[in-house]
Amino acid sequence: MPDRVGIVAAAMTKFEAAKPWQHLAELVLEVTDKVVEAAGISLQKDVESIVSCSQDHWDGRTISSMPIPDVTCGHLKDESKVADDGAYAVLYGAMHILSGDHKLVLVVSHCAESHTDGTIIENWSIDHIFTRMLGLDYTLAAAMQARRYMDKYGITPEQFAKVVVKNKGNAKKNPYAQDSATLSVIDVLKSQMLADPITVMDRKPVSDGACAMILATEEIAKKLTDKPVWIKGAGNCYDPHFLGDRELADCDALETASKKAYKMAGIKNPVKEIDVVELSEYYSYQELLWTEGLGLCKRGEGGKFIDSGKTQLNGDIPVNPSGGLLSGIPITVAGMSRVAEAVWQLQGRSGERQIPGAKLAVAHGCGGICGQMHCVLVLGN
């Protein structure tokens, strides 16, 4: 059985508020063709298994993966779907290889948030008998989490706004990013309030796009590229769904997931050893909370951590040099695009947003209300 999984290549569409000329399957086709070309393989002959990530309610069809085999040459092959976040599809694809079942796997995710109304979907994800009728969506729940975080640790909306300023600024160096801007903290604080303390700029915008990557055994990865990226560690963990069953100001699930991943990768001092982090901040405050959960700073110190400047593009440990989710990445694609960005950093393919000499990266995907579930992947070259 193989003991290492290599990521050979990654590809993305440009992310946009709408892509009216492309069918959902055409988003998948675009990134599939790109990643196959980048990996220098034959889709028909070399790809043994396709793992996709999409969600039925976003696509408006039961079994949203139904059109995937058509555009990935997947007929009469192994095909499976992960329905949460794209980082989990990468994890599942890696398991396909570690099991010895497949030597080369195409992993792909897509979502066109512009096709429907996301607040309804978010509301539908909430317990249908009891709390759904209260009108919760992820933004309203996020406001509760952000307030709890502020209240427990004294974190401020100004510190949340700094995340927006950093990420939208970083996005200017990312040709795949949807939204980029030169902003001040005041601009963010004065933008339209959605649910105090969350403004429209504190929330990820509506976005369409897709992401794909090729995973392979060590032997094949080495043959295909002189820059294979290895999955050195992985961990995932779930918190309870009901918000009253968790401490919203802490992220126990992410702490557990990251500790597992670091242990597997042999990381003892994350902030010293990791060169770059790409994480899933659906809301600005989450970046601060997730840096705590990833062990980059202590509990309650996410605010001080952004103040220190360490997470800036030129800081000690850049967080979201791509611009993160705040620059516009659709749900499901979110976590996979974090992995893809980390892969490009380690392959030295990140252009203007490249962290010089990056050798060890962390990619983080999450999903569910207030970050219920987390997946952490440690990647290295």
Binding site: K19, W21, H23, L24, G60, I120
Partner: protein, 162 residues
């Protein structure tokens, strides 16, 4: 669990409604534009393996060859031969309209003239005695001003005698 007749049984009733506006994409969009503007049904063929697609495909599902060049599309139908069919006798809720379905109604797989492709659509005939696989049928289009660029720009396939 056993029924407990002495207790009130509590349900939660809710109807879930979801708006969608799906992109049709490159070949499917063009297929519908042709249906709407010109009453034309188009198909295309994989240049590698010869497999035919209706509506036209971007790429062959079997060998991933590109086959979307519009100048290689061929107009098929409107006549064709019935391959198989069903007749629905029991009404149910139409999810796209919320109304009960008028029965009987029938849908068939029609092998269109011009290329070996199958189009799935409604049949005008709903009498099981009068539908036979192998019979000839023809697409009936809506008047131009009523066509919207979707599959119901064709009303149904009617039985024809040749």
């Amino acid at each position: 669990m056993k029924a407990k007749p002495q207790l009130e049984l509590i349900y939660l009733d809710m109807t879930l409604k979801m708006p969608f506006k799906w992109n049709t994409g490159e070949p499917l969009g063009e297929f519908f534009r042709e249906l709407k503007a010109n009453e034309k049904i188009y198909a295309n063929q994989c240049p590698t393996c010869g497999r035919n697609y209706c509506p036209p495909a971007n790429i062959c599902t079997r060998d991933h060859s590109r086959c979307n060049e519009k100048d290689k599309w061929v107009a098929v139908g409107p006549k064709g031969t019935l391959l198989t069919f069903f007749i629905c006798e029991q009404s149910f809720l139409i999810p796209t309209t919320g109304e009960m379905l008028e029965v009987p109604f029938s849908v068939g797989l029609v092998m269109l003239d011009g290329a070996p492709v199958v189009l799935q659509h409604c049949l005008q005939e709903t009498d099981v005695e009068k539908i036979k696989p192998g019979m000839r049928v023809e697409a009936v289009f809506k008047p131009k001003e009523e066509r919207k660029g979707n599959i119901f720009d064709i009303i149904h396939f009617k039985t024809i005698k040749e």
